[in-house]
Amino acid sequence: MFVERYFGFFLLFVCTVFLIMSFGLPVYSTNLGAVGAGLFPRIISILLFLFLCFHLFQIMRLKKKEAEEQVDKKTRFQQIFLIVFLVVTIGLSYVIGMLASIGVFMFTILAFVQKIPWFKAFTFTIVVLIMMYVIFELWLDSPLPLGIFG
């Protein structure tokens, strides 16, 4: 219920932003004598706003707290770590290149999150990196960022 409530408010916030922005767009396009760019988003955002309000009203009205599936702190930390590390990998790609940063990401997650022995984690990472290199660099000839190796 806790997550549902906050997620509902988050969706309402997103919807409100879109609703406000849609009012800046014309409903009719006078030049072309056609429907403007704002009609469709405005109708949709108004409807969404109303339904979300009703949804939140329903949630708030529920007095009994439904049992929510609990996620332990360790798992929550692992999830946050993974997302943060994905973001770090974007930054690292500029510095050491995409393949190398993906390698760092994979090894870190395997060794520290999945608790797989270092040697196994290292071997698997190398195999996947070689596979990616062959597919993307050699075969598809894709310009992957190389960073300092470029």
């Binding site: 969706l11 014309p26 994905l86 698997f124 598809l140």
Partner: protein
Amino acid sequence: MLSELLTGFTTMLSSPEAMLWCLIGVTLGTIIGALPGLGPITGMALLLPLTFKMDQLSSLILLMSIYLGSMYGGRISSILINVPGDGGAIVTTFDGYPLARKGKAGYALTLSAIASFVGGVFGFVGMVFLTTILARYALMFGPAEYFSLILFTLIVACGLTQKNPLKPIIATLLGLLLSTIGTDMVTGEERLTFGFVELWDGMNIAVIGIGLFGISEVLFRLEEKATTRGMKTNIKFSSLFPKVSEVVSNTGSMIRGSIIGFIVGVLPGPGALLSTFLSYTVEKKMSKKPDEFGKGAPAGLSGPEASNNASVGGALIPTFALGIPGSASAAILMGGLLMVGLQPGPLLFENSSTIVWASFAGFFIANVLLLILNVAFVPAFALLIQKIELFLVPFIAAFCFIGVYMINYSFFDIWLMIIFGLVGYFFRKTNFPLAPFFFAFILGPMLEDNLRKAILTATGDLTVFFKSPISLFFLIATAIVLVLPHMRKNKTEIKSSSKHM
């Protein structure tokens, strides 16, 4: 017609070079299709330069084989790791992946390969016999007809007819709203882009799909117990293949899917994507156990898979007969045809009859090769997923990362993928259905575009949607679908209250 087809088969089988390119095409296509983010369009576009130095038949066969192969390949990653290879394989995740989690990855892969084959053969038969007839009917679909068809698909597919439709409605509307981001195609106005240049072209379907399904899957996997990881690892060899009776029981869904796929494939524009959604909707509506859909219903897998591959044959009809590509992939194929000196259109059958009929024969041979390849490698795929189970979290994340980057060579897309991964995670956590959201996101631009085109061409007359018989048919069907469950519900309530009295 049959004698020409027979000549086509003779030409094809007597050309070792064309046969070799057919084999290479289906193999490359399958691999490309299985890679997240890379679909038939990217695959054919990347390999188009290869065809420059080939003869006409070989180049045509190679492109068609890649097209068909990637349609088969897209389902592999959908079933095994819940990451759709391309748009047409999105629906495969709905029931294919839950089957894999039940330890039936091999079963799901084989069943979908058979369904793909049935769809492919249906597409082939349709392509051979109905090319000229159906091409004429396809032209009867204007914006108003498309709008009604898409509206019907959205309403039915999004579960708006369920007992508690509030969450599907919210998910659908949110998908529609986010689909409006980008440059307005009619007026050229920039809308809802928040100043990001990267959003001018809107958000890429594959990026959003990979985020919603792939990244959220990674986060969910971390929550599952380390011992089981949610997927059965003790897979028996016998469970890798469906029983004959199981295949037979899915024949209906495969045929229905093939018909839908073929017809929708013929219509220029929507292609495989819409056909799979439509097929899924029909199967769910027709099923005696609709609750099983999304939890591993075989019909939810076989129908859309057949439809996905049947749409290829359908899409090639307007490409060959009219010179109007039925899908984006067919457009690239048409580019290939033009580059090797073949002019698609009514005269193609007169000027290059031998090559066209040989390519039709090649289309059938490619289907047979794909069935053999896909069924033969099922144990390998099932074994692979069993062995790398513990390594899947970073593996999926890494492939999503590089796959998304490859779509537009943009880091912005990776940011979007992460954001939508989190959205997908919370959707699943709070029991908001992901499918309606994604359905609406994909169909939204088509819905809006056709709505506006229809109003524009009718100079503002809204009755245009009721004047066309095809459009009217779909609107009535939509109304029936919306009203019928409520009527049934009222009837049941009346019955139960009369019993109590």
